[in-house]
Symmetry: C2
Subunit: 343 residues, 2 copies
DNA sequence: TTGAAAGCGCTAACAC
DNA sequence: GTGTTAGCGCTTTCAA
């Protein structure tokens, strides 16, 4: 032990590994990256040294030249249960491939989300997942120029990035079919008004699905669309709007679980309840919707499966694919306690 | 324009900025970091160049020498609403200081959480926040050797890292006082059994608070402790255990909102409800607890405020403080509909 | 198949 | 107050 003992251990670097294994740093790097051009014997020797020295690659240094092995996920808020299903599926797929997942809440507006996205690009993440982003297609294509991108819950067919979404038109149709099957005719849909006009957004697809299904049942004139926001507060607002209607609906498709919860809240505050006031359907099959006292009829989007698919597509893109993929998942109706025959 | 136009724009680097402003890269770097040693005029000139060239620093390159300006947050799962309150408060404090927040779900077990923590260390995050970690104090101190660390919801007094927690003993006492005030005597507490023996964990403090408060009211022999897990399933399990008791309690402190929800679920499945079966209290004041049909009496931990405090402490640590701070927040009882006088 | 060496963009000594 | 320069730990030519 001729060398002095450092106060705090210096990090083990690839140079240490190479020295320990008696090879060049280039060789050690090739082994680390599973790259072409290393014999089996060398591979084994270097891996043994890495093991023995407890070597862990320095992220920023890798990022200077090659990949950082990080994947960024931007969501509006962390609380949305659908988002955590996506990240669960995603991480189960990418962690085994030694990518790390970093999630960042970007808010519901365009400017804060964009700056979070920029931060991820600046930190040289290898790929980016945007979940239900508020940005326009043009803005998303702009982002896709700097980083491999998969967008979840967006229905664009852009050639610049991949999308994974549930068939929202079909989902809305399942809801209407179910309600009409129970005998309802006058049915309302709560729309996230910000999304109007942007055909790529889920709310547009759910709205179209609702309107088309109502028409198919010959109920076009019984369809009511309530403009609000898809949030807890927006649900309360929608409930108040519906309450003020001259001829109120007997059933409501809230568009999203969070909206349905807000509506239940508002009804409850007024001493009313569901399904007595009207039948109510959500969308997302969030964990809250399955709680006994809530027991909300809703639409399931198989978020975990979607998350896995997202991981698969993103890794393909990171590894070089450049043609876009657009995948659509089949939604599934989950009938629970908030829908009954009309009085 | 003597230079050829690149196919895709090369990133603007600090060298470009320095050249454009007619200064050295060191000077540009000093301006970028707001570091000492740059005159007002130079500062202005460099900032103008950065603006004009739309310069954005290269994260990995900064990380090689100095800070990465990233803060990592490890939570068990993204879905827990208390966690998102913490991150909300945290990000509101650190983003203005140009730190970026990256959250990673680490699971409920020690091994996966540790590997997520290691990934964050390997990526040279400047600071780390662990929310309700399952690790032992020794393991946390180990981590704190490599990275500035603030632990949320942990009651250790370790000199190696900071902690921010609510006064869980006090919180449990508020619950007992409330229930006893309503006339309850036989009261159960649901314990997260994994935490038994680890005095640093919130569940231990809440248990002690419960037992002490019951003793103070002369009800030591009426106190029931049910061993389960603090999860939705664990709540169901606890409800079944309580149902099987010879002399069941008239009130239950579930220990955490998520447990109370699981219990309501189980009761609901059996055709019973709260507070008819027994009065029920949670802990966390999660957004679900305030939904009309749930309307759970609970304890509020002011998560957003705690998150802000966490950010403050972490930045202090990153900037050099080495003595530990241990901050305790006062909890607040939120009385809603699940607690009434005993029948 | 392997190694030597250049350099990624930035920061931190140190010199002026 | 300002500039020069030597790296940080890795990947990637390029030559052997």
């Amino acid at each position: 032990m001729s060398e002095a003992n450092d106060q705090r251990r210096r990090r083990v670097t690839i140079v240490d590994v190479a020295k320990h294994a008696g090879v060049s740093t280039a060789a050690a790097s090739r082994v680390l990256r599973n790259a072409y051009g290393a014999s089996e014997s060398m591979r084994a020797r270097v891996q043994a040294s890495m093991e023995e020295l407890d070597y862990r690659p320095h992220g920023p240094a890798r990022g200077m030249r090659g990949r950082t092995f990080t994947i960024g996920v931007v969501v509006s808020d962390l609380e949305n249960p659908f988002f955590s299903l996506i990240t669960d599926g995603l991480s189960s797929l990418i962690r085994p491939k030694s990518y790390e997942l970093f999630v960042s809440p970007g808010g519901f507006e365009v400017p804060p989300q964009k700056s979070v996205v920029e931060a991820m690009i600046d930190h040289h993440m290898d790929g980016l997942v945007l979940v239900a982003p508020p940005m326009s297609i043009a803005e998303l294509e702009q982002i896709a120029m700097s980083i491999p991108l998969v967008v979840v819950g967006h229905h664009s067919q852009s050639p610049a990035f991949d999308t994974v979404a549930a068939d929202d038109e079909r989902g809305a149709q399942l809801v209407v079919d179910h309600l009409v099957g129970l005998g309802h005719r006058r049915i309302a849909f709560v729309m996230h008004a910000d999304g109007r006009g942007d055909e790529a957004r889920p709310e547009s697809h759910r709205l179209h699905g609702f309107e088309r299904a109502m028409s198919q049942h010959g109920l076009a004139s019984d369809a009511i669309v309530v403009d609000s926001r898809w949030s807890l507060d927006g649900g309360g607002d929608a409930a108040r709007q519906i309450d003020a209607l001259d001829t109120p609906p007997t059933a409501v498709h809230a568009g999203a679980d969070i909206v349905a919860l807000g509506m239940m809240n508002e009804l409850w505050a007024g001493g009313k309840s569901v399904p007595e006031a009207y039948s109510l359907v959500g969308y997302d099959n969030s964990s809250t919707s399955s709680l006994g006292p809530i027991w909300l009829t809703t639409v399931d989007q198989s978020g975990v499966e979607m998350g896995k698919r997202v991981g698969h597509l993103l890794i393909e893109r990171i590894e070089g694919r450049s043609e876009a993929r657009h995948e659509v998942f089949e939604p599934r109706l989950v009938v629970r306690g908030t829908t009954t025959r009309p009085a």
